[in-house]
Each structure stands twice: as C-alpha cells, then as structure tokens.
C-alpha cells in the first residue's frame, strides 16, 4: 500500500471532479462530498503513520518533461502537515455544507474550495520547488476567486484582486529564488538542493540570495509586513474561505516552505536577520490594528498576521520546530475562531462587534468553543497556544534576540487583550442591537466542538512530533520566560475584563486620548491607502503616459515619419520626373536632332564645297541660334546642371 502513497490525494481530486461536473445538481451537498474526499485523504494518510514514525521517507518521482522531474515525498514534516490540513479541510467543508445553504454559485464555491484544499495537499507532498510553486500559484487563483466570491460587490472583487496581485509580487521574488537554486544545482528537488548546499556546490552568497528571495514569496503568501495588506481585505469572502485561508492553507503554505527549506535558511545568517526583523515588525504592527478593529473577522485577520509574525520571528531565531508547532496549533485554534465567527455572524446577521453582545445566551456551544479558542490564542497554560508560544519565546530568548523577545512579550499582552475584548463584546453583557440569535445547525457545531477539543490538546503533540522529526532538544526551560509570558497574557485579559466586561474603566472618558491613534490604526496606518491610491494608481497612470508617448511619438512616430517622408520624396521625384528626367529625355532628343543637323550641315556644306560657305553662315546661323535660345526653363536648367557637373569634375580633377 505504501508504494502508492502518492495516489492518496486522489479522493480529493475525485471530489473536485464530481463537484465540478454535478455541482449544480448537488448544490450544498457538494460540501459533504468534499468533506468525505478530504476525510478519506486524512484516513489514508493516517495509515502511513507506521512508515513515517519508523523514519522512512516515501518518495515517488516521474518525468514531467525532458530535464525536469516532479515527484511526491512524505516524511515527518509533510506527514504531519498533511494530517492537519486534510483534517481541517474536511471540517471546514462539512461546516460550509450548512453555512452556504442558501447561497447562489455553489458549484463555483465548492469547486474552488476543494481545489484549494487539493492544491495545499499537493504543495505539502511535493518533493521539489517547481511543483510546490505550481500548487502555490493555484492556491493564489483559488484565493482570488473565493475572496471575490460575491463578485457583484465591488469591494469583494477588489479584495480578490488585491490578494492575487499582492501575493504575486511576493511570488515573483520567490520564483527568482527558485531560479537561483536551479541555476546553481540544475534541479528543483529538495534533496538534491540540500546535498548540493552541504557539499558546497552552491556558494553561501547564492544560498543567502535564494533564501532571501524565497522569503519574499513567504512575505506575500503568509501576509508579513509589507505585503500583509491583502489579508484583512480577504474577509470579503464567505467565512469558511477565511477559515481555509487563515488556518489550513495559503498563509500556512509560506511557513511550511520555510520550514521545508530550513537546511538552507540555517546557514544564511543575513537572511535570518532580515526574517527576524520582518517578523518582529509584523507581530506588533498587526496586534495594534487588532485592538481597534470593530469587525469580527477583521480582528481575527489581524491576529493571524500577528501570530504568523511569531512564527516568522521563531524562524529567524533558528527555531524551526517551535514555528512548526505554532503553525499546527494556530491552525486548529484559528480554524475554530473563524468557524465560530461564522456561526455567530450567521445568526446575528452582521460582522460588526459593536452590534453584538450577549450572544452566549443564544449560542452556548459556539460560545464555549470560542472561549477555548480565545484562551488558546491568548496563551493561557493548559491550552495549546501556550505550548507553542512558550517554545517560541524560549527560543527567541535563548537566541539572544532580546529586542524581539520583548516585542513578543508585549504582543502577547496585546493579543490576550484584543481577543478577550472581542470575546466580551460579542458573547457577554447585553444585546446592543436587535437581532434574533439562534444556535447553528449540527453540521456547523460538530467542527466547532472537534476544533475546541483540538485547541486544548494539540499542544500535546509536541513530544510525538519531536520523535517524528528526530528532534532531540528544544530551547531550555526558563522560568522567567514562562512566568513573564503568562503574566503578560493575564494582564491583557484583566485589562479587557475591566473595560469590556466589568466596565469598571469606561473608555469613553479617554476618547480624547484614544481617538487619534484609533483613527490611525483603524485606517491601517494609512499604509493600504498609500500603496493602493498612491503607488499603484500613479504607477498605472505614469507608466501609461510614458509608454503611450514613446509609442506614439517614437516607435510609431518614426515609422509614420518615414512613410510620410517617402511620400514627400516621391512627390518630389514626380516633379523631378516631369522636369528633370522628362526634360532630359526631351533635351537628348533635341541634342541628337541638333547633332544630326550639324552633321547635315557638315555634310552639305563642307563636303559640298566651300563655295556656298558665306551663304550658309548668313542663312543657317539665325535658325541655330534661335533653337538654343528657345526660352524654355528646362533647357537652361539642363545646361546649368551640365555646367555644375563639369565644374565639379574639373575641381575634383585639380585637387
């Protein structure tokens, strides 16, 4: 069975084909088919556990076209990712089955959802960078069409476009990085690249460049500063899409790629430094926006960016394992939070948290599950988020990057604060608008409950994972780090508790202080405005003006000028033809005639004798002279030209 492991993603593909063909008949049942497909892949993957835990690496490769091979590979890393992703995709599709019930365009929706999941699976099991890139880009397409699912809405269509183009900027860097590696090794295959790197076939500077460029792709897909701008807008899509993008696919693809290529990253200190800086900026930058966001999904989107920043910082501090751990834990609790958000929005009818409040009364299961997710992301001991966050903090501390460490600590506090702000505002206290709350249907609650359990226990995966990936030691335990991170989280929670639950502190009193920064953060630092309205718009305008001008006045201009000149010249030649050439012909005839006249003259008058000489001179002279002075311009012109030619040739002869 193990030999055919590369066929294991086929159930997903089959589901995709079924949905693509019969989607219009199946309607929302497509979701169930997709869930079953993904579930089958999950189960099949589980059967690979013995092989993977015994340290085997399953590989299958084939020729795509002469010179380039594609292939599949399952080792510890791809196996665990495969398990997590297929599990989540399955739950998200099951959830969509009810969530999307009354929507139009379900064939399109589910086709792309399943394709999204299938691409992510392909990305994980690829054994080479080219195949990964293919899956990576197809995910970009899926995100484009799913974020823009409600295409009649301009904002949704723009958000899809923004996601595609922003990530495309990163992708181009990534492609360049892949090409650097390919040019140096002649292969896209991970193992071949790694062995070339360790044998010194690729120089360190090339590795540094390649890893840096590839990190560019990660910045795009995993929404790191400054290419994070697409992710907050991505909430324009239906909620299951957000769950898929934030938890299972897309943003996790970037992290997976870096962990996969970590043997290369490890050796390039410069790249690691850049990664750490980018991560550190992102962590805080996004958390600050989350505090002031009033849209349920937007808060979660900012928190995703921030949490991804944690992973990036860890990767910048040689902490691939903590990063992976956080990728997995975050996947579970973020899927939970998004699906919970969807469940709430579904019943309340709006995503604006200022209009919610008291939802717990109607949605006890959703509310309880969400509490688990919130506690997990806040980093409370006993929940999965704590485990991986702790690992990251320990790693960063041990690596000696104290500045990043303090930023992370601060962000930990902010995270706890904004997550509990969200929780309290949504689920507790009194209703702030008139809505009819109700609990969601079972097929939406099953995923929530399962994910709630996962959010508590996925942290326990740490030790088995260490065994799976042959990691013998992680960063040393350090009580100061652990206590300070817990303290930071508690401060955040207490802050939120005081302001939004107990309402002991009334933020209205501080309006004058807060409103400035609030506006700044709510407008996302005006960064999006700057990019979209200034850079992009002016780029389009100015580049258009310049190229159109070049086109019109230079490239086409020269051609038209040439054509016109030729036309003018041809007009002149027509004139010249008439006067010079025709004139010349006439003249030649005349000259010939004259010469014949002269010979006639000689013939008659010289050979006939000189007797009549006097008579000739007197009689013929008048006729001849009359001919030469015939008053025609061309005659004079002709003689002028002949004269000039004579003079010029004489001068030429002299000099």
């Amino acid at each position: 069975m193990g030999d055919l492991f590369w066929l294991y993603p086929l159930p997903l593909l089959a589901a995709l084909i079924i949905i693509f063909i019969f989607g219009d008949q199946l309607q929302e049942k497509s979701g169930l088919i997709g869930a079953v497909g993904s579930g089958l892949v999950f189960i099949l993957s589980i059967t690979l556990a013995p092989a993977v835990f015994s340290g085997d690496k399953l590989v299958y490769s084939f020729q795509w076209f002469p010179g380039v091979n594609l292939g599949f590979r399952i080792d510890g890393l791809s196996w665990i990712m495969l398990i997590v992703v297929t599990f989540l995709v399955s739950l998200i599709l099951l959830y969509s089955y009810s969530y999307m019930e009354h929507e139009k365009g379900l064939r399109r929706f589910f086709s792309f959802m399943v394709l999204f999941g299938f691409s992510m699976v392909q990305l994980i099991v690829a054994d080479n960078l080219l195949q990964l890139f293919i899956a990576w880009e197809i995910m970009g397409l899926c995100s484009y069409s799913l974020i823009g699912f409600y295409f009649e809405k301009s904002s949704a269509a723009s958000a899809g476009k923004k996601a595609f183009l922003t990530t495309k900027v990163g992708d181009v860097f990534m492609l360049l990085g892949i090409l650097v590696l390919y040019a140096a090794t002649g292969s896209f295959n991970y193992d071949e690249i790694f062995s070339a790197a360790s044998s010194g076939l690729i120089s360190l500077s090339e590795i540094a460049l390649a890893t840096l460029f590839i990190f560019g792709g990660v910045v795009g897909k995993s929404a790191q500063f400054p290419l994070h701008i697409w992710l907050p807008d991505a909430m324009e899509g239906p909620t299951p899409v957000s769950a898929l993008i934030h938890a299972a696919a897309m943003v996790k693809a970037g992290m997976y790629l870096m962990i996969r290529l970590y043997p290369l990253y490890e050796v390039s200190e410069f790249t690691l430094k850049i990664i750490m800086i980018v991560g550190t900026i992102t962590v805080l930058f996004a958390a600050l926006m989350a505090i002031f966001a009033d849209d349920f999904k937007q808060v979660l989107a900012f928190s995703t960016i921030s949490q991804l920043g944690y992973m990036t910082v860890a990767l910048g501090c040689l902490g691939a394992f903590p990063a992976l751990l956080h990728v997995i834990n975050h996947a579970f609790f973020k899927a939970l939070l998004f699906l919970g958000a969807g469940s709430v929005i579904h019943s309340v009818g709006t995503g604006d948290i200022r209009k919610m409040g008291g939802v717990f009364k109607y949605q006890k299961i959703t509310g309880s599950a969400m509490l688990l997710g919130t506690l997990s992301i806040a980093g409370i001991p006993g929940f999965s988020g704590f485990v991986s966050k702790d690992e990251i903090l320990l790693q960063v501390y041990e690596h000696g990057s104290l500045f990043s460490y303090y930023i992370l600590l601060l962000t930990g506090m902010l995270t706890a604060f904004y997550m509990f702000r969200l929780y309290f505002m949504v689920f507790t206290r009194e209703k702030r608008s008139d809505y009819h709350g109700h609990e969601s249907p079972v097929s939406m609650l099953i995923p929530l409950v399962l994910l709630g359990i996962a959010a508590v226990f996925s942290g326990r995966l740490k030790n088995p994972l260490m065994g799976l990936l042959n990691i013998t030691e992680t960063a040393h335990h350090n009580n100061i780090v652990v206590y300070s991170s817990v303290a930071a989280a508690l401060i955040g929670i207490v802050g939120a508790l005081l302001i939004y639950y107990l309402k002991i502190i009334d933020i209205k009193n501080y309006d004058s202080v807060i409103s400035g920064p609030k506006k700044f953060f709510q407008n996302r630092y005006y960064f999006d405005y700057f990019v979209e309205e200034i850079i992009c718009k002016y780029f389009v305008k100015i580049s258009g003006m310049i190229t159109m001008a070049i086109e019109r006045w230079i490239f086409d201009g020269i051609v038209i000028f040439a054509a016109k000149s030729i036309k003018i010249i041809s007009n002149y030649t027509k004139v010249a033809d008439q006067y010079i050439v025709d004139g010349f012909v006439n003249k030649t005839a005349a000259i010939t005639k004259t010469f014949s006249g002269i010979s006639n003259f000689i013939d008659i008058y010289i050979f006939d004798g000189a007797v009549r000489f006097i008579e000739i001179v007197t009689v013929r002279k008048g006729e001849i002279m009359l001919y030469w002075n015939n008053g025609k311009i061309q005659t004079y012109l002709l003689w002028t030209v002949v004269g000039i030619i004579l003079i010029v040739s004489l001068i030429g002869g002299v000099f």
Partner: protein
C-alpha cells in the same frame, strides 16, 4: 505518404479558391470549409502519429527539382519544431471555422481567404527551400491583407496598408539576407543552391554572419513582433475581423519565431553568440514595454494585442539564452501563445458582437449579464498571465529557467513584467465583469455565448489545460531538434 503531405499543404487553398469563385450559400460554404479544414487537421494528426520523435532530422521529405538554374527545388519536410507549428495551424483553422457563423457579411469569401491563408502558413512551416519559403512567406500577406481591408473596422484601410507595407519591409530584409547567403556560399564553393538543408551545416565567415544576421533578425523581429518593430500589430489587430485576429496572433506571429529558429539561429551561430545579450535585452524590453502598454489600454482588443507583444518578447528572450531550457521554452511559447491568444481574440470578438463596444470604461458588471462568457474570459486571462497548470506557464518557466542561467539578473525586468501582466488582466476583469452593472447597460438585451462559440472555446480551454499539465509530449517533439541547433551554436 508524400502525396498526403502535399494534400495537407495545398488542399486548403484549392477549397479556398473554389469558395471564392463558385456561387453557394454561406451555410454550405461554412460546412465545406469546416469539413476540409478538419480533414487537414486529421492529416496533420496522422503525421504527428507517424512522426519519429527519436531523431532530430527532417522527416516526410519531398524533393523535386524545380528551377534548376537557380538551384531551387520543390522541397518540403518537417522536424519537430515545424511539426508543432503545423499542428497549431491546422488546429486553429478548425477552431476559426467552428467559430465563424454564417450571419456576418461575405462569409463565403472570408472562409475562402482563411483556407488560402492556411496553405500559405503551412507552406512557411514546411518549406525546405528558400525560394519556396519566401513565396509562402509573402503569400501569407495577401489573404490577411484582404481580410483586414474588407472585413475590418473603421480604420481598416490604414491598418491593412500599414500591416502590408511594414511586414513587407521585413520580408525585404529577409530576402536580401537570403540573396546574400546564396551568392556568398555559391561563390565560395561553387554550388548555387536555395535548399535550406544545405545551409544548415554550412559555415559562413564570422564577418558575413555579423553583418547579415542583424538584417535577418530585424526581418523576423518585425513579424514576431519585437519592440520597437511592433507598431503595425496593435493597428492591424484592432481593425482585423475576429477570425483574422485569431490567426494573426495565433499563427502569423509564430512565423517570426519559426524563422528565427530555422534560419537565424541555425545558420548564423557565430553572430547569435555575439548578439545574444543584445537580443535578450530586446526580449525583456518587449516583455515589460508591451505589458506596460497593455496596462494603459482602454480597448480590450488592443490590450490583448499588446500582451502578444509582451509574450513574444519572451520567445526572443528564451532563444537568446542559447540553452535547451530557453529554446524549448521559446518553442513551447509559440504553441501555447498560439492557442491562448486565439482564445483571447475570439472572446474579444464575441464581446464586441454582443455589446457593440470593447471599451473597458464603457463596460461593467458583465458577469451578471453574460455569466458564461465571463467564465471563459477569466480562464483565458488567467491562462495568459501564466498561471501554473496551464500551457503558458510551461513556456514561461522554461524561458525563465534558460534565461536565468544565461543572463542572471537581467531577468528581473522580465519578472516585473509578470506582475504587470497579472495587473492589467485582473484590472480588466474587475472593471469589465465584476461589481455593479454599468448604468448604460442596464435593461439591455445582450447575447451570451452561442453553441458554436462554446464548442470553439471549450476546445481551446481543454487544450490549454492539457498542455499545461502534460507538457512532455509536445516538448519531446521538438526537444531533439532544438538540441541539434544548440549543438551547432555551441550552447547546452
């Protein structure tokens, strides 16, 4: 088999002339044209089936003495590169025939010209004699000229004359090059011949190559077209009728690429090495400049026309890389761009027919009016911007792989063009299809796809996906031919 080969090349023009001369209804004419072009396509498939992929030499050779005093013969044959372009031509003509409906003006004559054009195009790709090559090369201009002139848009006279004269200048440069080669070789070894095959292993002196190659290169570059010799293209496309545009972008431009490979890069190895970097610069400039221009267009068809300039730039970039990835990428691009651009131009025509405009600023929210058309538009745009899994990507990645090995960071320019390409396509999609329905279109009756259009579009869609996922067979077709040319050039 030889007679079958001749039938494939000349049969279309016989039918074409018959259509022009005989009286019949448009409906009959369409079925005759469709049937005969399908037969030709089947014959080309048969040749593909018979084609021996394990050799790089020319196959199905026909050689009959023709004008012996000039050393010219009636010589045909195909290698892998020709084979792929022959398949492209016969296929696209069938698609055009399916697409053409019999409700427009003078369909019978249009179909006749299309079939004559097919013969000319096939002739260019299979001729193994310079005189024959040149005759076919020039013959291509005539039906296309009439297609633009008679069925074209408002500025058709200007466009058709510009097209004719501009590309004719290119032909003239090629002709001068051929004559120079003819006399140079003839006076050196006493054999005056126009047989292309006998030039493929002849070594011209370095000086001769360095002087004549730029001329031939510009000649082909005009056809391709390469910036700055491209200005005939947007005008020709904007005015050309849809079927004409499809063949113009789908096949006519490929003649330039084919000529570069067959004549330019094979016969002038020294010059090619010498000018490689300059050609690459021309290539990347075309890619970026074409893309930026496409971004600035309001006319959808003009946008697509400039995107052709951009994509053809990558052909030159790939060839200039002088390695197998670059060459395969360029050759693949000829095929991939052929089917993708045919689809794009067909869609432009359908939109124009339905909405009487192609102006992006006058359209909006079309996805709600013509959902089926929208699906194909999205697909075609995504294919053209080089999404992995579709045919364009295979070409693009090969070109980039080759070009990076050869030119390193010159490639950055090409990569920027990829972003711009994604930009103009997605912007156009957003403005034309998504969001609210444009006020001026509300309440209007607009036709979505007709059945023949659906069939034609589906055919191309399926092919674009197949050639994107399974590029092996096509690359194997010309891989060896490209390797042999590279062996001559001294590349890898």
């Amino acid at each position: 088999m030889n007679w079958l080969f001749l039938i494939m090349v000349f049969f279309p023009s016989f039918v074409g002339i018959m259509l022009l001369v005989k009286k019949m209804t448009d409906r009959t004419a369409k079925w005759i044209a469709l049937t005969s072009s399908s037969i030709v396509f089947l014959i080309s498939l048969y040749f593909y089936y018979m084609f021996d992929k394990t050799t790089s030499s020319f196959q199905f050779i026909i050689h009959v003495n023709w004008i012996e005093s000039l050393g010219s013969s009636f010589a045909f044959g195909m290698d892998g590169i020709s084979m792929s372009l022959v398949l492209l031509t016969t296929l696209l003509v069938v698609v055009v025939m399916i697409f053409m409906d019999y409700h427009s003006d003078d369909v019978k004559e249009f179909l006749g010209f299309t079939l004559i054009l097919e013969t000319a195009l096939l002739g260019v790709f299979v001729a193994l004699d310079f005189l024959l090559f040149y005759v076919f090369w020039e013959l291509v201009l005539i039906p296309m000229y009439f297609m633009i002139l008679h069925w074209g848009g408002p500025r058709r006279v200007y466009a058709s004359i510009k097209f004719f004269i501009y590309t004719h200048v290119g032909s003239f440069l090629i002709l001068v090059g051929i004559i120079a080669m003819y006399f140079y070789k003839g006076s050196a070894d006493g054999v005056y011949t126009l047989s292309i095959l006998s030039y493929l292993d002849y070594n011209f002196s370095d000086k001769f190559q360095l002087i004549v190659f730029p001329m031939i290169f510009i000649g082909f570059a005009i056809k391709l077209p390469l910036v700055p010799f491209h200005t005939w293209l947007p005008d020709a496309h904007v005015e050309a009728p849809t079927g004409g545009s499809m063949l113009l972008a789908g096949v006519l431009l490929k003649m330039g690429g084919y000529g570069l490979i067959r004549i330019g890069f094979t016969i002038f190895p020294v010059a090619v090495n010498h000018y490689a970097y300059i050609m690459a610069v021309f290539g990347v400039v075309s890619m970026l400049y074409g893309a930026l221009l496409a971004l600035a267009q309001d006319d959808l068809k003009k946008m697509v026309a400039y995107s052709s300039v951009s994509h053809m730039g990558s052909v030159v970039l790939g060839l200039a890389a002088l390695n197998i990835n670059g060459f395969n990428g360029a050759t693949y691009q000829l095929f991939a761009h052929g089917i993708i651009s045919a689809m794009l131009f067909m869609l432009c025509g359908i939109l124009q027919y339905s909405f009487k405009t192609r102006s992006i600023s006058k359209l909006g929210g079309l996805a709600q009016i013509v959902p089926k058309m929208t699906v194909f538009y999205v697909f075609a745009f995504i294919a053209s911007l080089g999404l992995p899994g579709l045919a364009g990507f295979v070409a693009e990645i090969n070109v980039l792989m080759g070009a990076f090995q050869a030119f390193k960071y010159l490639l950055a320019v090409a990569l920027v063009s990829l972003i711009v390409t994604a930009g103009y396509y997605l912007l156009a999609l957003q403005k034309v299809f998504f969001g609210d329905i444009k006020q001026s279109l509300v309440g209007g009756e607009f036709a979505d796809l007709k059945i023949n259009e659906k069939i034609a579009l589906m055919t191309l869609t399926v092919l674009i996906v197949i050639f994107g996922l399974v590029p092996g067979p096509l690359i194997e077709l010309f891989n060896l031919s490209n390797l042999e040319i590279l062996a001559r050039i001294g590349g890898v």
